[in-house]
């Protein structure tokens, strides 16, 4: 039995056979010529045969896929035999190049041409490189560097996964994800949470596992064990039984003593919203509006935006939907808003800041949100991402008022916003902590980097202290805004909409710190609810106090987990 320890990002205990994502292909040597015994005609024939094989394989996979995955696979299949790509490669072969090098270069040139066009085309450049790799792999007779296809469910082990890989990931086949690199807040981890797949990232050494070997994955503790014994098999079986019990939420978030704590969903579009409503989420705590903008060369028009937002609002009649205005930049570039040449995009013009360089887009988005709100029965709140100062909060509130939106708020992702929340809340009605970015900015650690995973941990006492500062700022704001009234008005709500809210142990700490609602991937709500109901508000405050006083993220997590035996019982 051999164990690997990584960072668990989605709970779940499963046993299954391993399939390893094949390594990235090495480029054929630059300038590689046709072998002496091969004629150009033979090389062209083998290239066309390989391309046709790749197209057949992708078409077959497309016919078995559904939704976005099907569309991506069908389009990629067509690219494999596209005349532009193949004719360019044939020309190179006729000039003496080897078939592998010819398709390699032709693919590079076509991808570069698409990348130059920007926007939607630039995203397709990746698909061209994907078919190029598949054709080269076919010519070499090796496995292409893509998610393996299998008739039986398996545990996917990879160095790391790209967002494009996850589009073709079939959750009916892949029962767990294990990556050797990648961080707990990477996009791959977020997708694993959305799919509800047990996942472990940053598990150094797992690529040494053998294909088809049985392993045990514990997405709660981050442990991956080869040759599982009876204890592991029993744990997986127990998880399977509990997963069905943990699968539902009755629609009321509360602690053991009856204190209410709303549990809402993070959604990125209409389909997500419908699923969240079906899972009894108490509303939407974070609607990411990028779905309406990503992959676009130009800003979507008013009517299109109204229809997109209304689709989400209609899933939650009478309930709260917090809409985050466009958060472009850094890892989500948009050609008409962001400058891709910034040397340090995470610290650049992103989120709310794009309103200073491209004024008008935000005001038009707010107008569309206001129209969608009028046409639906949801309670619409609006918040701006990447707010750093009270002045920005005031400007955003004024834009909301001009659009006729009555409940403006800010996201607290920058330490300055957490430390001055009292002044920010003079201008807006609520604050929502985006713990992913707040952690990255507090620890100065890129959330995409596996090497920094231990820094990029919302359990870091500094991050918890900033959550506390934000809540205390809200209380101070209420106290000082009361004027001569004897009783201060209630503090404005501070919620959490980052991935931290989906960690049941951390959710207890956040509740203890005085956060008023938690928003997370809808699939995480039942487990979080179950654990919150096992503690009183007094116990939660005590655990929060202990976590704040811990010397490290590991110590904070360990002492809180220790005090919550229900986590181990439930395999969380």
């Amino acid at each position: 039995m051999q164990s690997f320890v990584g960072v668990g990002v989605t709970p779940g205990r499963v046993v299954g056979p391993v399939l390893i994502m094949p390594p990235v292909l090495n480029a054929p040597p630059a300038g590689e010529q046709l072998a002496g015994t091969t004629s150009a005609a033979d090389a062209v024939a083998s290239l066309k045969y390989a391309a046709a094989q790749v197209k057949t394989e992708l078409d077959a996979r497309a016919s078995r896929a559904s939704g976005d995955g099907k569309a991506v696979l069908s389009a990629t299949a067509l690219m494999a035999t596209d005349p532009t790509l193949i004719k360019a490669a044939v020309k190179l072969i006729n000039e003496g190049s080897s078939a592998q090098r010819a398709i390699w270069d032709a693919g590079n040139n076509v991808a570069a041409m698409l990348a130059d066009l920007g926007g939607y085309m630039a995203e397709r450049a990746h698909d061209v490189l994907d078919v190029r790799s598949r054709i080269v792999a076919e010519l070499r007779g090796v496995q292409p560097p893509v998610i393996p296809d299998s008739d039986v469910p398996f545990i996917l082990v990879a160095e790391d996964l790209a967002p494009a890989d996850t589009a073709t990931l079939d959750p009916a086949k892949v029962i767990a994800l294990v990556t050797a690199s990648g961080g707990p807040q990477s996009h791959t981890a977020i997708i694993a949470r959305n799919l509800g797949l047990p996942a472990v990232v940053a598990a150094t050494g797992v690529l040494a596992l053998t294909e088809h070997e049985l392993v045990f994955v514990d997405g709660g503790t981050g442990r991956v064990t080869s040759h599982p014994g009876t204890a592991e098999l029993a744990a997986a079986k127990k998880w399977q039984e509990q997963a069905s019990a943990l699968g539902t939420f009755d629609g009321v978030g509360r602690l053991a003593d009856g204190t209410l704590l709303d549990l809402l969903a993070n959604v990125g579009g209409t389909a997500d919203a419908a699923a969240a409503a079906g899972a009894n989420a108490q509303g939407v705590g974070l609607l990411r509006t990028e779905f309406c903008f990503l992959g676009r060369d130009t800003e979507p028009g008013h009517d299109e935006q109204v229809a997109a937002y209304k689709g989400v609002l209609d899933a939650f009649p009478g309930k709260k939907v917090v809409i985050r205005t466009l958060d472009a930049g850094a890892d989500k570039p948009l050609p008409f808003l962001t400058d891709s040449t910034e040397p340090n995009p995470a610290l650049g013009v992103r989120g709310y800041r794009t309103d200073t360089t491209s004024p008008g887009v935000l005001a038009r988005q707010l107008a569309a949100i206001a129209d969608a709100a009028t046409q639906s029965n949801a309670i619409v709140w609006v918040m701006a991402p990447m707010i750093a100062t009270a002045q920005e909060a005031a400007t955003f509130a004024a834009l909301c008022a001009a659009a006729g939106l009555s409940t403006p708020g800010v996201m607290v992702e920058i330490p300055s916003a957490a430390l001055t929340s009292r002044h920010l809340l003079d201008h807006v009605e609520f604050a929502s902590l985006g713990t992913n970015d707040l952690t990255q900015y507090t620890m100065a650690a890129d959330r995409q980097l596996g090497a920094l995973a231990s820094l990029n941990d919302p359990w870091q006492p500094a991050v918890l202290a900033l959550v506390q500062a934000t809540v205390e700022g809200a209380a101070a704001q209420a106290k000082h805004s009361g004027g001569s009234a004897k009783e201060a008005p209630a503090a404005k709500p501070v919620s959490v909409c980052g991935e931290a809210a989906a960690d049941p142990a951390l959710a207890v700490v956040l509740a203890g710190l005085g956060v008023s609602s938690l928003s997370m991937a809808a699939r995480a709500i039942p487990a979080v609810s179950c654990v919150l109901r096992s503690v009183t508000s007094q116990e939660a405050r005590q655990l929060a106090h202990q976590a704040l006083g811990a010397k490290s993220a590991l110590a904070a997590r360990a002492l809180v987990r220790e005090a919550l035996p229900i986590l181990t019982e439930l395999g969380l």
Partner: protein, 91 residues
């Protein structure tokens, strides 16, 4: 040489799904069809059966393109292809 103009009806322009529908239809005809923007010479025209070429053309909703082909069946083929361009596949 037969020629036919068409106005792009798809709201997303001639990429993504509309481009793949059109390229597949052009490839199935068995004759070479070229496509160019109105006003560009026939020498600059691109292969209509290539989705990648269509994407690089970058034709947006409302743009006018010219289809060209040779042969006895060219007129019918171009009419059929123009009909695809003039349909909004996103509707």
């Amino acid at each position: 040489m037969s020629e036919r103009t068409a106005t792009i009806a798809s709201r997303v322009g001639l990429h993504a799904r509309p481009a793949s529908i059109f390229a597949e239809a052009a490839a199935e005809l068995g004759i070479e069809v070229s496509i160019s923007r109105q006003g560009e010479s026939a020498q600059e025209a691109l292969d209509a059966s290539s989705m990648l070429a269509l994407m690089s053309l970058g034709a947006e909703h409302g743009d006018v393109v010219v289809l060209r082909a040779d042969g006895p069946d060219a007129d019918d083929a171009l009419t059929a292809l123009a009909r695809i361009l003039e349909t909004d596949h996103d509707a």
